[in-house]
Amino acid sequence: MEPPRWGSIFIFPVALGVSLGVSCLLLAAQGKSPALGLEVLWSGAFGAWYTVEDTLLKTVPIFLCSLGVAVTFRMQVWNIGAEGQFALGAVGATWAALTFANLPGALLLPLMFACAAAAGGAWAAVPAWLKLRLGINEIISTLMFNYIGILILEYLVYGPWKDAGSHGFPMTSQFVPAAVVGHFPGTRLHWGVALCVVCAVGLWVLLTRTRPGFELKASGESLRAARYARMPYNTLVLLVMALCGALAGWAGLLEASAVTGRLQPSLMVGYGFTAIVVAWLARLSPARIALFSFFLAALRVGAENLQLELGVPAAFGGIMEGLILLTVLAGQFFNGYRIRPGGAHR
């Protein structure tokens, strides 16, 4: 990436200000007080410790998926398959949880993490292999793999894994306690929050302090130069894709195990797609990804409060989100280019 310009520091606050301003106008147009609206939005996300917990919980799956997606993007591998990898991760973890329900937690949970990573990773490695061997465009193949992955999940919960006691509803039976990722004592936060920190630090070290990290960056910047320097491009592509699959898979595991305690189709709410947007907003830096996923989670949680307290329609939250993304990206774009009046011809 190019060295940051000084203007980039101001992009986000300015963009946020503009989009909040427009949102206030929209609120006013509905006859609601904009000031009250902003206050309700804020208190919904940060008003009390438990709302911060809610926001953090919502951050976890977005963050993990986005972290993975960003690594592949760094290599200019356009993997948009985090949604499917998330589904397969949840499937892999559920398979372990249902098959080895008798194991103690100390064994079962690591096994579930391994299975989630393996399933999610394998789901990402297939399009990577197709790209390398047959030259199939990974944008198309990873997108299609999303739908296949979600359908596999649905097939399992509607079919072989359906809980006999669920009255025919599509869900597996409740996980045994040993298969549930626990909570920090006294909070609703599960250990996945800690996992996020570990993954972020681990990835930062990998990207900035190791040889594969350097090779990865070099291959992303210039494929031909990397080839010339005999960097193992094919291995690296497989590595980053599998890494992304594993991270998204863990996000799926955490949602299934720690939050709902079973596998069900409604786990799929599009975190894998949100992750792509977050990765772009954050310009692929792990630290900024953490910031932006937390911010987006706060916006979503806060917008619920807006519905509850002011009776604003749910679509309003989506509009705010769209406005913010639009203004930030536009800001980044115009910061990169300069508008020169009358300077169309050099």
């Binding site: 190019e2 009250l36 809610d54 599509p170 786990l267 772009w280 619920e304 519905q307 509850l308 329609p313």
Partner: protein, 386 residues
């Protein structure tokens, strides 16, 4: 890195129509006139809700919907009742719409509980586990869960016997069909939907014993294009009446375009296909919700499993289209009266499954627990429950 900026620009452009679409959507979905709390501070206390609403303060009643209330379907039908409750003295209502059934539901329910709501209505089966969890933490709040089966000391499970109205609509369809082939655009293979298809088929067979019902699953609750396509595929195999379980009027439009008949759902869908719409099994939650809220306010509410139907007015049949002849109307309304009076029950034996196995013995009525967990199709239904 030119690629970055290029993609950023593309993303901006891609987001534009999305934004415009959001704007339109909002214009349609006129924000429900909400008694916008003039109160400045939402009292957000982490402790359990006060047992009794403080003197002079309105009891807050919360609703959680799975889809936007502007969908003219399932959530809309509940919101109609909410608006009536809103007018009741001493009551303020709020709702959160478009809440996915997974992890998000628990947070929304929990937040209502923390804000001291007196009662919370969750209107989709996927909210069941979340509601059960929160209900245990807040014993003073009345929790009402629609379309599930779990109850607790302060949690009621309720639903409507939509299958009774489905049966009547099946009679209309059976009487109006020339080919005896009825199409059914179905949502998801869960008991509620399967039960509806079966009742529809039994109703049609009561009029035309040779009637068959062809089922196509869309795996959607609201996707106008997909649901319309599903209806077209049914029309292509010779069905001449289309019924549906989803929220969108897509199947109705498909039927009208091909000049055949249709049966709506949720609400009277005549406006979408006036030439095709024969009738529709519809929801009317108002009497049930009013009664529940009155009991909650009076302190006489008790948890239970409730399953009101035609007799209670929770489900009904929409007005007949003008193409439905008088003799058919008379026949269907007579049957409706029998059901209301308790003289006839849908799923009275003998009822056979697709393979011809007798599932309900002669002269007996299927038990509620079997209906609630129904996973098989009756004879005459063409399709699978997977």
């Amino acid at each position: 890195m030119r690629g970055f900026r290029l993609i950023a620009l593309l993303l901006c452009l891609a987001a534009l129509p999305l934004l415009a679409a959001c704007g339109e959507d909002k214009a349609e979905n006129k924000p429900a006139p909400q008694a916008a709390p003039a109160q400045a501070e939402p009292a957000a206390e982490p402790q359990a809700a006060p047992a009794q609403g403080a003197q002079g303060e309105d009891a807050k009643i919360g609703f959680i919907y799975v889809s936007p209330t502007g969908d003219a379907g399932w959530s809309y039908s509940h919101d109609v009742a909410r608006k009536v409750i809103e007018e009741m003295p001493g009551v303020t209502t709020s709702f959160v719409e478009s809440v996915p059934e997974g992890p998000d539901a628990e947070r929304v329910i929990l937040n209502m509980a923390r804000k001291g709501f007196k009662a919370i209505f969750a209107t989709s089966y996927g909210y069941m586990d979340s509601m059960e969890k929160v209900a245990k933490e807040f014993p003073e709040i009345a929790f009402m869960h629609c379309s599930g089966y779990k109850t607790g000391p302060n949690m009621t499970a309720y639903f409507g016997r939509m299958y009774e109205a489905r049966y009547l609509s099946g009679m209309v369809a059976g009487a109006m069909s020339k080919t005896g082939k009825l199409g059914y655009a179905a949502a998801f293979p869960i008991p509620e939907v399967i039960r509806g298809i079966n009742a529809f088929a039994l109703g049609a067979q009561a009029v035309n014993p040779a009637a068959e019902v062809r089922v196509v699953w869309t795996k959607t609750w609201y996707d106008p294009a997909k649901e319309k396509e599903a209806a077209k595929s049914l029309l292509d195999v010779g069905c001449d009446v289309i019924a549906q379980h989803q929220d969108s009027p897509g199947p109705q439009e498909a039927a009208q375009e091909r000049g055949v008949y249709s049966i709506g759902y949720h609400t009277d869908m005549t406006a979408f296909a006036p030439k095709a719409h024969l009738t529709a099994p519809i929801w009317n939650w108002t009497p049930f919700y009013k009664d529940a809220v009155e009991k909650i306010l009076a302190g006489t509410w008790q948890h239970q499993a409730l399953w009101p139907g035609l007799a209670e007015g929770t489900v009904d049949l929409a007005p007949f289209g003008e193409m439905v002849p008088q003799d058919v109307r008379d026949m269907v309304l007579a049957k409706k009266q029998e059901i209301v009076d308790g003289k006839y029950k849908v799923f009275t034996g003998p009822v056979f499954d697709q393979a011809g196995k007798q599932m309900v013995p002669d002269e007996q009525v299927a038990e509620d627990k079997d209906l609630l967990g129904m996973t098989w199709f009756v004879k005459g239904v063409v399709g699978t429950t997977e």
